[in-house]
């Protein structure tokens, strides 16, 4: 009798679980955070007034960095995002009525940015950073809506996703959001300045910086408990830790960080890889006051202290030891022609290595990757343009590069730990 009772109990629990799972699957636990006010359409006059704010917010969100192919057309989508489950493609967000979002109502648009749900109750994949855009205020979402609807419509169909995403898996996002979609608010702090609040609002919201700069858990959700402690490898480059302490330790203060975001160039280094896209499409076009706010927020620690960098690392004893001299000679041969015999760089041509933030990173991945692959020609604001740095994958072997990187890190990075040839090989193998 007891056994049957136990079996019945188990079956009951199983049925309940299945019912619960089905409930989740069908979105019963998916709430809406959209204000009822937005059911009413905006007037033309209202939309017109919101355009400049909408433009600034779209830049902050770097919408076009993802939603436009490198050669355009603007906002027509088509950029591939590789995931372990297949390739997602960004969508057409021009107001084209057939292929874009031209049919979206004001409410539809809010539902997307706040809840991550598109018209027809379609769950969006988190390639769209709705976890972050969720904190955006109602009037700001209205501004974005007005701005998006003012763009020229482009009749380009969306590129189909691949892999798992060809199957009808959207409902399974409801499980994902249970664990990975906390209902966040714009950050506040007692005694915080207007500037800090604005920076916090942008960084933790539309800016979605943490989507790259924070590690992800097994389900590819953002691990908010490890906020800004660095992310995965993107395009072969390690996404750095950008907590205030780490930024300061690597030489930044609010002014230089602001300059870096506004122009892509600073004494601490130039923007390349993923950050080049961000600077190019987003931060270099935004209002300087907003960038200052972002920099202030990022350089402020948990106690409200605006951090400043300590004096840069002095050359370590290793740098002068015989074992690293081949590394020094490699620098003199291959690097000093542009980066200067003393690592001083050439103004407006090649960034200094002395004081360079990538050289100071604990993890040598980025330094090794840049030595192997170089950096493509990049344009920055203010007529600035840096010609391509050559890659040395075909010119230097793993041992050479290991010695070079070890010497540079000892000389200018304050890093004791040498780089090994095996490390270089591992990075080379991934290319």
């Amino acid at each position: 009798m007891k056994r049957r009772g136990l079996r019945n109990a188990l079956v009951l629990i199983l049925i309940v679980l299945v019912l619960l799972a089905l409930a989740v699957l069908f979105g019963l636990f998916r709430t809406s955070s959209v204000s009822p006010d937005v059911k009413q359409a905006l007037t033309e006059a209202q939309k017109q007034e919101l355009l400049p704010r909408g433009r600034e917010l779209a830049l902050a969100g770097d919408c076009f960095g993802c939603h436009s192919k490198a050669e355009g057309p603007k906002a027509a989508g088509g950029v591939p995002i590789a995931t372990p489950f297949g390739i997602l493609h960004s969508t057409n967000i021009t107001p084209d009525p057939t292929y874009g979002i031209g049919q979206y109502t004001r409410e539809d648009f809010h539902r997307v940015l706040r809840d991550g749900i598109a018209p027809g109750n379609r769950n969006l994949y988190p390639g769209m950073p709705f976890v972050f855009t969720h904190v955006t205020r109602t009037e700001d979402i209205d501004a974005l809506y007005a701005y998006m609807m003012s763009l020229p419509p482009i009749a380009e169909p969306n590129v189909p996703n691949t892999g798992v995403f060809t199957l009808p898996v959207r409902p399974f996002m409801n499980f994902w959001t249970l664990i990975n979609f906390p209902k966040r608010q714009p950050p506040t702090r007692e005694g915080a300045s207007e500037q800090w609040l604005r920076g916090a609002y942008l960084v933790e919201g539309l800016g979605h910086c943490a989507s790259c700069h924070t590690p992800r858990n097994l389900t590819m959700g953002v691990s908010f408990d490890k906020h800004f402690q660095g992310g995965d490898i993107v395009d072969g480059l390690m996404v750095p830790n950008i907590t205030a302490e780490n930024l300061a330790q690597r030489g930044f203060d609010a002014a230089s960080l602001s300059q870096y975001l506004r122009t892509g160039m600073s004494a601490q280094g130039t923007a390349f890889g993923g950050m080049y896209t961000v600077v190019h499409f987003s931060t270099s076009e935004m209002e300087p006051t907003d960038i200052d706010a972002i920099a202030t927020y990022l350089m402020t620690d948990e106690n409200g202290q605006l951090l400043t960098p300590p004096p840069g690392p002095a050359p370590l004893a290793q740098a002068s030891q015989p074992i690293l001299q081949p590394g020094r000679y490699h620098y003199a041969s291959a690097c000093a022609g542009c980066h200067g015999a003393q690592g001083e760089g050439i103004p407006n041509v090649a960034p200094p290595m002395d004081g360079n933030t990538a050289v100071m990173m604990g993890n040598p991945t980025n330094l090794i990757t840049v030595i192997l692959e170089g950096v493509p020609t990049q344009t920055f604001t203010g007529n600035q343009r840096m010609y391509a740095m050559p890659g040395f994958a075909d010119r230097m072997n793993n041992e050479d590069i290991a010695l070079l990187a070890s010497w540079m890190r000892a000389q200018w990075g304050g890093q004791e730990e040498a780089v090994t040839a095996a490390q270089v090989q591992a990075i080379r193998a991934k290319q």
């Binding site: 355009l51 433009r55 436009s68 490198a70 050669e71 355009g72 057309p73 603007k74 027509a76 003012s150 763009l151 020229p152 482009i154 009749a155 380009e156 050439i346 103004p347 407006n348 041509v349 203010g382 007529n383 600035q384 343009r385 840096m386 010609y387």
Partner: protein, 496 residues
């Protein structure tokens, strides 16, 4: 080698001409056609151009070009097929002056009894290929290129000339007085420029070669063709100097058997004819002429203002005794007709016309302009060395594209004046920027074989600038008045 000067003004005026045409609702080439200079019409300074400007003819050719006639259809088709990109075609025409208003040339051209030709010339090679073209001129006119050439010659003992070196400010009275001295000239040696070599400096070469052709080669050839029984090949016909030609094998014409230059040379020396000539010429938008009484030749009015001659080995002692000026006989001019000082006010009379059609597309997202093809039109006159003209034209249009789209030089502290700029920031056009495979060019055929060659250098880089700007306007509707038209400026014009 290309200099600078009017590209700045002409580029902007050609952009404005298109704007005026648009406001008038008129085809942009038609507006130019109605306002183009016709032959013999004075310009704004009162100067009348040398020869036919051929501007209307060039406009007519451009108007018929498929790039122009198909532009609206092509735009509709391209824009529909390439969302986010916009197609445009633009045109511009300019004419660029060459010469300075005090152009001179000086050279010495002689041959020995074996036919070895030596030329000592004032022209210096600055990259224009002038040293090549001067040799080709001699080859075309005498049938043989010089065997020995010395360029960059600044010292001509055979022409002991003097000058007060004020050709631009001299008064008529001063000029009349000073020119009574047969050794005085308004200016002695020319500056080198990219465009003054083939016509202006080459003018002296042409005068020297022409003198020898008429006064030495002809009498020597006549003597050779008349030799032998019954008055030779020449006797039963009527041949004059005007019938003499350079032909394969040497000198001929009138049906005579060609004579190799070496034989002409030997005969000329035997006959004691003039076997070397040193000339100096001067132009103030009109060539000076002078009268010379040359022993053994006669009284001639030549388009030079100083002349010295060398007599052949067989000349009588009396003539040889006259050769005491650097081994030559300096013939003092008995009269000289210098262009009036007033012509300094008239301005330029020598121009080369050029036009360009540009086909491009604008990426409205990146602001980048892609030049798809371009077609250049040029009137170079009678070309002396085709490769030099073509190379100049190809290089010029590339340089112009750089000026139109890429070569931004900001003012003030962050600009190139701060000493840190290099080609990373000063962007130069590369092959992919200039439609290297699809570009085309046409030259207007010379009106006759006696058309002079036209000086050209900077002209080839000018029309492409405004043509590019006009094409961008056709593509996206915005007009630009500050060059270069960079992606940043285009994006700003398109910003919503």
């Amino acid at each position: 080698m290309r200099g600078y000067g009017t590209i700045q003004a002409m580029s902007i005026t050609e952009l404005l001409v298109d704007e005026v045409a648009a406001e008038l609702g008129m085809d942009a080439i038609e507006l130019r056609r109605r306002n183009a200079l016709r032959p013999g019409e004075p310009n704004t300074q009162g100067a009348v151009q040398l020869g036919d400007p051929r501007l209307v003819e060039m406009l007519d050719r451009a108007a018929q070009h498929p790039l122009w006639t198909n532009r609206e259809q092509a735009k509709a088709k391209y824009d529909a097929a390439n969302p986010g990109r916009r197609y445009g075609v633009g045109f511009a025409q300019v004419q660029k002056d060459y010469g300075t208003g005090a152009d001179t040339s000086a050279l010495l051209l002689e041959f020995d009894a074996e036919g070895k030709i030596t030329m000592r010339h004032c022209v210096q090679e600055i990259g224009t290929g002038a040293t090549s073209s001067q040799q080709v001129v001699v080859q075309r006119m005498l049938g043989k290129a010089p065997d020995v050439v010395i360029f960059g010659e600044t010292d001509f003992p055979q022409l002991p000339l003097k000058s007060n070196f004020e050709p631009f400010t001299i008064s008529q009275q001063q000029q009349d007085e000073l020119s009574r001295d047969p050794f005085w000239v308004p200016a002695i040696l020319p500056a080198m420029s990219a465009s003054n070599s083939v016509y202006f400096i080459g003018f002296g070469t042409k005068q020297a070669a022409q003198f020898l052709f008429e006064n030495t080669v002809w009498p020597a050839a006549k003597a050779i063709w008349s030799s032998g029984p019954a008055g030779g090949q020449l006797a039963s016909g009527v041949m004059t100097a005007a019938d003499l030609r350079v032909v394969p094998g040497g000198v001929g014409g009138g049906g005579m058997a060609p004579i190799p230059f070496a034989d002409i040379a030997r005969k000329a020396h035997e006959m004691g004819l003039v076997t070397g000539v040193a000339v100096h010429c001067f132009s103030r938008w009109q060539w000076a002429r002078a009268d010379f009484d040359i022993p053994g030749v006669g009284s001639l009015n030549l388009a030079v203002d100083a002349l010295a001659v060398r007599y052949g080995d067989g000349a009588p002692e009396a003539l040889k005794a006259r050769m005491n000026t650097g081994g030559y006989d300096f013939i003092k001019r008995s009269a000289v007709q210098y262009p009036s000082a007033q012509r300094n006010n008239a301005g330029v009379t020598t121009y080369t016309p050029a036009a360009c059609l540009v086909e491009l597309n604008v990426n409205t997202f990146t602001g980048k302009v892609e030049i798809m093809s371009h077609h250049s039109l040029l009137d170079p006159g009678n070309v002396v060395v085709p490769a030099l003209v073509s190379g100049q034209q190809q290089g010029g249009v590339a340089m112009g594209i750089g000026h139109a789209l890429m070569e931004d030089l900001p003012l003030y502290g962050d600009g190139p004046g701060n000493g840190t700029w290099n080609f990373n920031r000063y962007t130069l056009p590369r092959a992919v920027d200039v439609a290297v495979w699809t570009q085309t060019a046409e030259y207007l055929a010379p009106l006759a074989d006696s058309s002079p060659p036209k000086g050209l250098a900077e002209v080839v880089m000018i029309p492409v600038v405004a043509a590019t700007g006009n094409a961008i306007t056709h593509a996206i509707g915005s007009r630009f008045y500050r060059l270069p038209i960079t992606p940043a400026k285009i994006k700003k014009a398109l910003t919503i």
